[in-house]
């Protein structure tokens, strides 16, 4: 019988298993440290560090000391830090590779602690989302108004264009008119014409030859008159056309500031509508940051809350590997998922005080466990609120999985709670917050209400809206804020509403109307200055042109008169002379008779 036994085989067997056990004892700690750091850093996106990790035997477990999880967004800050965590492991499941933690105790848990060195890890560069204005900034863009000078500097003003058009029209027409006027005889020329006509037409015509000579001179002069008349007519037409064109340009220029003002008023309408989004601006950024952090961590944790594919309807095609089979689980009071945290209770220091966190049945195989994972958070020693409770349930025991959160905060007293605009702060208030959120098939549906009482605000800001808002908020003591979030967890559609908007709108409306008038007056002044600049010294150009036109008319009339001058013919002149002589003789005779009669009459007395 013993001839079939190979005794040294027993030693080899003992060496193989003893070596395995020794390896586990000595290497498990460093391997656990390495795994936590490597996997943690990969999942977190920033450095996860462990001072040391070691295996404990009574009870069997793993002790991790000095765990620091860097905040991926702020590498000089830890998302969480703990002094020591001891995971008490169950031996039987561990023998088949299942990590079941019966109890996890954590000491010195803190959130948001500063780091001595940066915990950033190099990641592929992603496009910054923050460069684009968010919905809140967009909503406020019509409330935030620059100064009149800034508006005018940034706007395409019709006043400027009309001014340019007016100048062009003036210069073009002036050039044409000047050219035409150069051809028009001046006053001295007209005087010379008059002298010439006088010389031609006056004086006795001595003979037929003299008459013909004078007539030829007059005809020549008339020809020049005709040319001058044509020049005057052309100049007159040029002046008329120029006056019409300049008149149109001037009208457009004078109308432009009014049109500009109307357009600017429409575009930069200061209305209280913008204030409808102020609640989102004031509370959205802070609440958004907190929600974003929560959702970020939820996104990280989510894949580990349920085995991959539990909630996925689509089946991914995997590379064919050696069939590894699967566990068939049967009903039992003590199911063994591959990894499970049965229970953990820890206390953490946060800004509001101390909070107690209790975790139950956390596993990535909830169907095997048959129970949902629970995380209950409760305030213990709070100094800025009466109580806070948060209950998280990750229920993936059946399809579709459902994750839910219920949050209740009683009498939160925020101190110097910075709001999302300027340096406005909520210095004091009593706030009651109730919120609940559910995620089913990756779709988030959340709502929350916050009732603010005994509110006190301080501060304002540099911009108009911030200053005005600061003033308006000072009179508001009570308000509520309601927030809704729906859609994909990674990118939910968030809406924030509040009766604060209504209160702010009323206060804002009054202040905005006054501000609108002030702005419009400034704009008017600016535009008028531009108009004056565009008109320059040409404001009376139309009057000047009218005078020029009148002068041309007078010249034309004068030339017409001169052109109508005729030279009497020689015969007519002789007859006229004879007639004049006869008349003179008759008059002389008549006068002689009159004096004779007078003398006779005197002699009678």
């Amino acid at each position: 019988m013993f001839s079939w036994i190979r005794w040294w085989g027993l030693i080899v067997f003992a060496v193989i298993f003893g070596g395995g056990a020794a390896f586990f004892i000595f290497a498990a700690g460093p391997l656990a440290k390495l795994s936590i750091e490597k996997v943690g850093t990969m999942v977190n996106g920033a450095l996860v560090e462990v001072d040391s990790a070691s295996v404990t035997f009574n009870p069997l477990g793993l002790k991790v000391k000095g765990l620091q999880v860097t905040d991926a967004k702020e590498p000089m800050r830890n998302t969480l830090e703990l002094d020591q965590a001891v995971a008490e492991l169950e031996l039987a499941p561990l023998l088949i590779g299942k990590g079941i933690i019966r109890e996890l105790s954590v000491d010195g848990l803190e959130f948001g602690t500063p780091r001595k060195r940066s915990g950033a890890v190099e990641k592929p560069k992603k496009e910054k989302k923050d460069d684009k204005p968010n919905a809140i900034q967009k909503a406020l863009s019509n409330v935030e108004v620059p100064s009149a000078k800034e508006i005018i500097a940034n706007e395409q003003l019709t006043t400027d264009n009309a001014g340019k058009a007016f100048k062009e029209s003036y210069e073009t027409n002036k050039k044409i008119i000047d050219e035409k006027l150069d051809a028009v005889p001046d006053e001295s020329a007209l005087k010379a014409y008059e002298d010439e006509i006088k010389a031609i037409t006056s004086g006795k015509i001595e003979s037929i030859e003299d008459f013909q000579k004078r007539k030829a001179q007059l005809d020549d002069l008339k020809k020049r008159f005709k040319q001058d008349q044509e020049a005057i007519a052309e100049a007159r037409q040029a002046v008329k056309t120029g006056r019409e064109e300049i008149s149109t340009a001037l009208k457009e220029l004078k109308d432009a500031p009014g049109n500009d003002l109307a357009a600017i008023r429409d575009k930069y309408q200061l209305n209280a509508g913008g204030a409808a989004n102020l609640t989102a601006t004031l509370f959205g950024s802070e609440a958004g940051d907190m929600a974003a952090k929560a959702l970020h961590w939820y996104e990280i944790v989510k894949p580990y809350l349920a085995s991959s594919g539990d909630d996925d309807e689509t089946v991914k095609e995997e590379k064919r590997v050696r069939d590894s089979g699967r566990y068939v689980h049967f009903a039992t009071n003590d199911p063994w998922p591959s990894a499970l945290l049965r229970h953990s209770h820890m206390t953490a220091a946060v800004s509001a005080g101390l909070i107690s966190i209790e975790v139950k049945d956390l596993t990535h195989e909830p169907k095997v466990l048959g129970r949902p994972a629970l995380v209950d958070v409760e305030g213990v020693e709070l100094h800025s609120m009466d109580s806070v409770t948060a209950n998280l349930v990750f229920d993936h025991t059946k399809k579709p999985g459902k994750d839910s959160l219920k949050l209740n905060i009683v009498n939160w007293q925020p101190v110097d709670f910075k709001l999302g605009m300027g340096d406005i702060k909520l210095t004091s208030a009593k706030v009651q917050i109730k919120a609940d959120a559910n995620v089913v098939r990756g779709q988030l549906e959340a709502q929350g209400d916050a009732d603010f009482g005994q509110a006190g605000f301080v501060g304002g800001g540099k911009t108009f809206v911030e200053k005005e808002l600061g003033l308006a908020l000072k009179n508001i003591k009570e308000f509520n804020v309601h927030a809704d979030a729906k859609g994909r967890v990674a990118l939910p559609k968030v809406s924030i509403s509040s009766d604060l908007d209504r209160q702010l709108s009323a206060a804002f409306k009054q202040r905005l109307n006054a501000k609108q008038d002030e702005l419009e007056a400034e704009l008017k002044q600016e535009l008028n200055a531009r108009l004056e600049k565009a008109l320059g010294d040409h404001a009376d150009v139309l009057t000047e042109l009218q005078q020029v036109e009148g002068g041309l008319d007078a010249k034309l009339d004068k030339l017409k008169d001169m052109a109508s001058s005729e030279l009497k013919d020689f015969k007519q002149q002789q007859e006229e002379e004879a007639k004049a002589k006869a008349q003179q003789k008759a008059d002389e005779e008549k006068d002689a008779l009159k004096s004779k009669a007078k003398d006779k009459f005197k002699k009678l007395f």
Binding site: L10, F13, I96, S324, G325, V328
Partner: protein, 168 residues
Amino acid sequence: MLSILAKLLKALNSEASPSQISLAVCFALIMALTPLLSWHNAIVLLLALVIKVNLSAFIVSLGLFSLLAWFVDPYSASLGEQILTAPGLQETWTSLYQIDFLRITKFNHTLVMGGLVVSLIAFLPVFFLCRFLVVQYRAKLLAWVEKLWIAKLIKGSKFYRIYQAIAS
């Protein structure tokens, strides 16, 4: 590897019992057709080490059957699935599942169950077939193989020198 093959040849050509060689092959069959890191395999390994089976035959067979397992595993897993989900056996499995020690054996794993059933069913046939083949090889094929040109070629190789060193 060459020395292990040489040892296998030595075992085949020597006076080593055909049963020892066949039993080694059967143990290797169980280990290869079921997930290696299972507790029943620790027992199989213990048996293979303690019982005087031919270890060279065990190691070479383990390698060969592991290759075979790539093709057999899906069928083994399917068989295990059927056994573990068979309605008539549910009560049995459920009661066994309550015992931690049995759960450690991974009996509820489809490939462990299927592979173990397949290898246990094949155990005796493989044992006798293997034994028969070793006997036949020694009786009929050994002399003929030695006369083959390829055998002569091998005899002039490094492999044969290792074989001779081990045989002596």
